[in-house]
Structure formats: structure tokens, C-alpha cells
Amino acid sequence: MSENALDVLHDLRRRRKRHRLDDIEWFDAAYRVYLVALFGGGTVLWISSSVVDSTLSDRAVADIARNGPALIGMVTAIAFLAALRSGAQGGPLALEAPDVSYVMLSPVDRARALLRPATQRVRSATYLAATFGAIVGQLAGRRLPGTPVAWAASGVLFGITTAMLWAGTALVAHAIRLPLWTATSIGLAGVAWQSAALVWHIPGPANLDGSLAMWGWRQHPIDLAAPLLALTFVAAGVGMLQLTSLDALARRSSLVAQLRFAVTMQDLRTVILLRRQLNQEQTRGRPWVAVPRWVGHPIARRGMASVARFPATRLVRITVFAAMAGVLQAMVVRGTTPALIGTALMLFVLGLEVMEPLSQEVDQPDRTDGLPIERGELLVRHLIAPALTLVPFAVVAAVCAVSVLGTTSAIAPAFILALPTVLAGAAGGVVSIVRDAPDPTRTTQQAFVPPEMAGLSNAFRIGLPILVSTLAASTVLLVRQAERLGTSTTGAALRGAIGASLLTLLITYWVRRRDHWRRKIRQFMADGQSYAKQRSTPA
């Protein structure tokens, strides 16, 4: 060979980078950074300022000292489960389709060629986890012994370790072609063991990593074994890159390209859809249960048929989201206000997951337009089956909240508030799906949003659904307030439930009337333009 294939590959990458840099609209990029900094930074500052600065009681501190490592270690155990499953499903690497066609099929050393994508994967995961760790760490530092800076640093350390463990484990699981059922079994065993460690205070597999997150308070040198282990996994994964399956890379390449595009467009619905495809999650061929004959309306029947075909993995995921929402709401009642954001996100994603019939309808606009029913009415009818589906998951959320609060007085408020909150929270997902749908009232000539407003409009498009879910989650604050004032928590829960139900009704009405309102606004704008044109034309 006249020149080294790896040198050619590096040259190819350098030239592509140069082309990309040449194509960047720097003003546009700067504007996007500005928006992210404005809204992202604003959110973090709001969360930080909402944390009560008073330190916890001695009893609570002792409780955290005892349970903290096992509880935080649960995050690591879940990351380990996710990594095993990701590797078994062909992850974590994803190349561009032409890289698979031209680079991976050329006689280049694949291990060397994949080194950069692997490094980038590890780097992006550690960066994300470190940022998240720093934010959570500094929040913890406001209420626990130790400075926020020290806690932020230990959060970073924990994030990096967990991300490295995730990436390394996924690479190894991929290389050894771990079957999915084995990966899931091993991962679940790890989570079960860690749960046992939390409940019965036995040593857990992820306790050291969990303890590392508490270095902002106290340091145990033995905890450093966790990052060393994570590094070992990364080294093993990188060392086994030669065994990467081209089959998996080829399958994932086109999906990842679509996923990146969807993320760029902030199209959350597509992101979720593509994530499912990446995980090879397929709808069941045979439904769990047949749709009852008494369900006569075709749209309701269609919705129930869709829900009855949810794969087990999605049902487990929805259960986990519901359970976490319950736990986070309990944390809000106990005084951790920022947990509200977590609840909102859980309910929002839960909504996106469960609203499959609605999403399918939105994804097929041509078919929708061909039906002899007004679109708004059609979409509203598609909400019935998912709403019914949410009932058992609301029960899961309530049970989890009561378990964390550990008092029988929480039973009534939790069960009163659970379903309305879950429904209203999931309505955030509905807003996202319906807002991202193609707009049949719009023609190509009509674009009334000036370019300089497009960025804000985008931010609003992403922010509104989360705001709806946050409002739904906020109803729990009434219960907390009642508890603090010594008034009836059941009464407060009832008021909260009414508020959440009103929010759900409002969103449903918006879905029903949205096209009508938009048509009217567009007509009004068009009339205005035509009037202005008439006036400017000399008689």
C-alpha cells in the first residue's frame, strides 16, 4: 500500500472538519449559544435559588450519611443496566452511514479507525454526566455539611465515574456479543442487589461510587476504587474495538443520523421514536389483551389496539417513570422543591410514551386529512385510550409516594392527587406532539413569524410543554403548604386535583379548537395584509 490507510482517514476527517467549519453561520451559532445560556442558565439559577439554605436536622444528616452511598449508588446500578442493554443492542457507538460504507469496508485497521468515535462517545457521556453531577452537587451543598464548591466537585467526580462505567460496560457488552436477555438479567441483578443494600444496609455493588458523590462532605480513600474500576472497563472496551459488529454499526448509522437531525430540530417526538428503533423496540405482534367488543367507536378501538400492543420494555419504562414521579413528589413534600422539575420531566416523557395512538395519527397527516372528521375532534378522541392507560400508572406513582413518605396520613392525599397530576403532567406531552404536528391551516406563503423571532419561538415551543407538566406537578405544593400550616392535607389534595383536572380540560379544549383558532388568526393576518396593500395602491 502506497500510503497508510489511517493517515488517509485522518486526512479525510480533517478535511471534513474544515468544510463544516466553513459552512457554519457564526452569527446564528452565537445566537443559539446565547439562547441556551439564557434559558439553561436561568433554569439552573432558579432551581438553585429555590433550595432552602437552612441545613438539615442532625437526624436527617445522619440518615443521609447512612443511606446516601446506597441511594446514589442506585444511579450507578441503573447506568450499569442501561449500559449492558445498550451494548447488547449494538451500542454505544454510532457512525455515519458513509463511514460504514467506505471506511469500515476498506482495509483500514478497524480498532484504530473506531478509536476516535469511541473516545468521542466516552467524552460526551462524561461531559454530560459531569455537568449534571456539578449542578446536583452544588444544590446538595446548600443543605448538607460541606461547601457547595466541594459538593459540586464530588458531583463531577461521580458523574465522570458513572459515565465511564456506562461507556466501558457498553463497549465490552457489545464486543462479547452479550445476548439481550443475559444483559438484562445481569443488570437487573445488580439493581436488585443495590436495592437490597439500600433497604437492609448490606454492602452494595455501587456503594463505593455512591460514596464518592459525597466527598464534598467526607472522603473515604477506598471510594477511589470506583473510578479505577470504571477506567478498567473503558480500557477493556477500547481494547476490544476490533470486535465491533459492523452489522450493528450499519443498522444504527441511518437511525443516528435521523436522531441527530431530530435533536437539531428539537423534535422530541421523533427523538423518542428513533430511540425506540435504536433499541430495536418493536410493537407486539399479538396484543396483551383483545379490545373489548363493547368499545364500538373506531378511534377508541384503534387507540386501545395500539396501547394493547405496547412491548414489555415500554411498559416497564412507563412504570419506572411513574414510580420516579411519585418518589420525586414525596421529596417535594419533604422540602426539596427542585424535585418538581424532575417530576415534570418524568410526567412529560411518560406522556410522550403513552400517547402513541395520538402520535401515530400526527405522523400520518395525509391519512388524517382523508378522514371525514374534523382534525381537532379526531385528536381529542385519540386521548381517551392513553388517559385510561394512565390509571394503573397513577396508582404506581401514589404507592411510591406513600412508601417514601412512610406515613398513613399520606395515603388519602396521594391517591386523590395522583391521577389528576399524572393526566395533567402527561398533557405536556400532548402539547409537544400536537404543536410539532404539520399545520394543515398553513400555506407555504404564510410565515408570519419574523426570522429574528424564530429563536424565541423555538424556545417557547420546547418550553411550553415542560411548563404544562411543571404546573401539573406543582399541585403537590398545596399539600406541602397544608402540612406546614397544620390544615387538612386531604382538602388541599382535593383542591390540587381540581386544579390539575382543569389544566387537563384546558389542554384538551386547546387540542380540539387549535386548528380553528389558527385558521382565524391566519385569516385575520391575511385580511390585514390585503387591506394594507389596497391602501398603498394609488387609486
Binding site: S2, E3, A5, L12, R15, Y102, V103, S106, P107, D247
Partner: protein
């Protein structure tokens, strides 16, 4: 010498078999057509030979090397039915990098000649992702031929091509054959079958014919069961 050898090669998707155990030898310099109805297993077989798909069971060898190995990749050129390109490189740059990745130092002359033959000279500095379906196919053909190979696997090469494009491709196939390269071409273009020396037919994942094209009714072979 055998250029492509499969032994009990099998592929299943869940419970559904895509290719039943297949044992096959393709000799050096042969020009072979692979036909079959949609879903008969043609692409599955080709992708496993190219190393793009993991077999459920059995083996594939290119020359004497396992499919997908570094040596096998050096010998095999793959022209798939869904061409992909970088969206930030021109066709000329694609040709440059594919040629150089395969160790071709003086590639410019060959690239010019290929572009001229296929009719893409005027588009050499354009980004191929912006091309129409037919032009993308032509671009993919130039990339498959710019590099040296002993075995070429081609999946549905005529889709989207206009008549001059088809003629140019047939000329390239002939030239490769004359150089001693082995060609395995999966196609629905049954008129092409008369130009090959050996015909393979798959039906529902099973090899139902292996012989000379003249000895069979090709149209009957491509009917699903």
C-alpha cells in the same frame, strides 16, 4: 480458485428464516447473476458476504479470508442498493478518499476516466447527497470501481439508471471481467441474465437454481412460492 465460499450460511430474524443453510462456491473470474422475488434473501446473502450482516450460523469466505476481515475487505468491492455519501464532500473528494483508503496513489486518471464513462464529469465538484436517485447510483458506481478488487458484489445496480448509465455499467462489468475479477450481481433485470455464465436463484431463502441461464425459465424462477 474459489473467490466466494459459503458453508451452511444461515440468517434468521427472530423466528423468521431469511436465508436457509446455503453452501456455495463462486470461482475466480466468474460472472454470476443472483435472482429471486422480493424478500427471497438476495440482499441478505450479499450483505453477509460483504461483512455488513452477521450470519446466524455458517461461514462466508472471501478468497481464503473470513468475510469482513481486513484481507477480505481488501479483495471485495460492495455496491449496495442504497448509496450513502458524506454531505460535506464533493464527488471528486469521495473518489479521492475511497481510492486512497484502498492504497491507490495515482487515482486521478482513473477517476477522470470513470466519471467520463458514467457521464458525471460535469458534476464532479458537486455534493452527491444533492443528486437525484439515478445520479446517486452513478456516483456509487464510480466509487465501487475506483478501487482495486478481485470480487465485486452488486445489489440491484440498474435501479434508477437511464439507458446510457446502464450501458456504461455493463461496459464496466465487462472490463472488470476481462481483468479477471469475479462478479456476483443481484438483480430484477432479467434481460441482463443472458449476459452471465452462471445463474443463482433464491426463493423464500432457499437456493432453487444454480446453473446456466439458458437451461431454465428465468421468469418462473423469480415467482414467489
Amino acid at each position: 480458485m474459489t473467490e466466494l465460499a459459503t458453508r451452511q450460511l444461515t440468517k434468521s430474524y427472530g423466528d423468521r428464516p431469511a436465508l436457509e443453510p446455503l453452501t456455495l462456491d463462486v470461482e475466480s473470474g466468474a460472472k454470476v447473476a443472483l435472482v429471486g422475488h422480493n424478500g427471497s434473501g438476495k440482499t441478505t446473502l450479499m450483505k453477509m458476504a460483504a461483512g455488513l450482516l452477521d450470519p446466524t450460523d455458517g461461514t462466508v469466505q472471501i478468497g481464503r479470508h473470513p468475510a469482513g476481515s481486513q484481507e477480505a475487505r481488501r479483495l471485495l468491492s460492495w455496491l449496495g442498493d442504497m448509496p450513502t455519501f458524506y454531505d460535506d464532500l464533493s464527488l471528486w473528494e469521495h473518489l479521492e478518499f475511497v481510492a486512497r483508503l484502498h492504497g491507490v496513489a495515482d487515482w486521478q486518471g482513473d477517476a477522470d476516466e470513470l466519471l467520463d464513462q458514467i457521464g458525471l464529469t460535469a458534476r464532479r465538484d458537486d455534493i452527491p447527497t444533492t443528486f437525484s436517485r439515478g445520479l446517486r447510483q452513478k456516483a456509487a458506481i464510480t466509487l465501487a470501481f475506483i478501487r482495486p478488487f478481485r470480487l465485486m458484489l452488486v445489489d440491484e445496480p440498474f435501479v434508477g439508471l437511464d439507458e446510457p448509465g446502464k450501458r456504461a455499467l455493463l461496459t464496466l462489468f465487462d472490463a472488470a471481467s476481462r481483468r479477471g475479477a469475479t462478479l456476483l450481481i443481484a438483480t430484477h433485470e432479467l434481460t441482463f441474465v443472458s449476459q452471465v455464465g452462471r445463474l443463482l436463484a433464491l426463493r423464500d431463502g432457499k437456493l432453487v437454481y444454480d446453473g446456466a441461464p439458458a437451461d431454465t425459465d428465468v421468469h418462473a424462477l423469480v415467482l414467489p412460492s
